[in-house]
Symmetry: C2
Subunit: 274 residues, 2 copies
């Protein structure tokens, strides 16, 4: 169990009528805590702010979040922090309260220094990603699609699942964004109707642009998976993780992935954490 | 605030690491408590069981639910009961625990006897219903789409919103299922990729079949809305509620809706509750 502050107080529980529990009415961030600091915190706070605005949720004070994070993580070198913001407790029914008293829950999970991780073994999932053009990109609480897809991944002993929309369009990994490499170009699915606008996805796209690597953010499908020469997933916690195997097929680790991992490490994102 | 039993104990809180809060990993039922009993409880328990099976959640004991409901509602004539089943507390990450300790939370909300309600004023919502063919029909916890659509409904002072899928297909009401009447036939959207398999929806379809009223469960869109001669929404709490106005257009209350309401009342579903 993590150490939690709920609205600034040490707590292990949340109101049973919190709308986060009742209706998934909120969002979250998962932050890598490395070298005793929250990595890429400004980006996480920017996404949290954007998500709150889209959901008409009051934006929690960034200074308060920084202070609470620092207090939870004090003395810990490596770990994971989780921020949850919900519309707070409210009466029964979907109708959001006109004057919400939002819940800000911050959890901290210390971790031993990581071991070097091998490439991921990935499988395609038959559980589709939930699609909603108005909510796409938001790191919202309701993730039953990811949970059920991850159960499929576990059932076959793989590390990560690849998810599609109902129309066969690629969405991303069960707990990551997906990148493909072909002919020197980088490809990643657009976040138009499903998927999360990943912090690490953005950073990788920026780094690629800085290196002059052309990238395509668009509609991808099974043929793109099949034709990929390199493949990797990204997340705030793992940075870039190469995919070494997809549905049993060996995927080559290649030069473009290695180049991006190197550039990411130079930008301060090195896994396992130092 | 309601009266709650969480895993059989009076409580107003839930574990902050409950997967219902973290990921919407669970489902719920909302049950009308009328004449001091839970209305259509067998149907609610059957849907809960089916939902748990689809989510690979242990099915809570029906006898225990009945006992706890009876204890919460003792001495109360009218109200609403809410059952929530989640995969319980678990470590961070979508991956479901292999041996979950599910949470069963039962809430009870006493209510004054209802007043006769006028027909609903409905508006079409631009927030789409989230689509997922594997999760469709389940009354899952994550309802951010309904919440955001209901906010649109409130913003214009209406009672109920009509929601569509991303492709323009009709899904249902923000907190109800939708029925249209045209040329003596009943129409309701199929629950193939979005929407909840409503208890009252099923009952109305059965009653219609018993009365020899032909019904079509299928793909419907804006032209069907525009061409409807009668329109009503259904839910466990309101039974059948006619729609009197849609986006400003007056919708006639007609004979078929009245006939179904009468038959539903004879089957024991009469609103406002006696």
């Amino acid at each position: 169990m993590g150490r939690w502050l709920v609205n600034g107080e040490a707590a292990g529980v949340v109101d049973i009528e919190d709308r986060g529990f009742a209706y998934g009415d909120g969002l979250f961030e998962t932050i890598a805590w490395r070298q005793a600091t929250p990595r890429l915190l400004d980006r996480h706070l920017a996404r949290l702010t954007a998500g709150c605005r889209r959901l008409a949720l009051p934006v929690p004070d960034a200074g308060m979040i920084r202070t609470q994070l620092a207090s939870l993580g004090a003395g810990t070198r490596n770990g994971t922090a989780k921020l949850i913001v919900t519309r707070g407790p409210g009466p029964r029914g979907y109708r959001p309260p006109s004057l919400p008293a939002p819940t800000l829950a911050i959890g901290f999970f210390p971790a031993a220094p990581g071991e070097p991780r091998p490439g991921a073994v990935a499988v395609t999932c038959t559980v589709p990603a939930s699609e909603n053009a108005v909510l796409a990109g938001i790191k919202k609480l309701g993730r039953l699609d990811n949970v059920m897809a991850q159960a499929q991944v576990m059932a076959v002993g793989a590390d990560e699942g690849i998810m599609f929309g109902g129309d066969g369009r690629l969405v991303g990994g069960t707990s990551s964004n997906l990148f493909l490499v072909r002919a020197g170009q980088l490809f990643t699915p657009a976040i138009g109707s499903a998927g999360v606008a990943g912090i690490m996805r953005d950073l990788v796209l920026e780094i690629a642009a800085g290196l002059g690597i052309p990238s395509v953010v668009g509609r991808l499908g099974t043929p793109d998976l099949a034709g990929a020469e390199e493949m990797f997933v990204t997340s705030s916690l793992v940075g870039i993780r190469p995919v070494h195997r997809l549905d049993g097929r060996v995927v080559g680790t290649g030069p473009l992935t290695a180049r991006l991992m190197q550039a990411l490490a130079e930008a301060g994102v090195r896994e396992p954490g130092p």
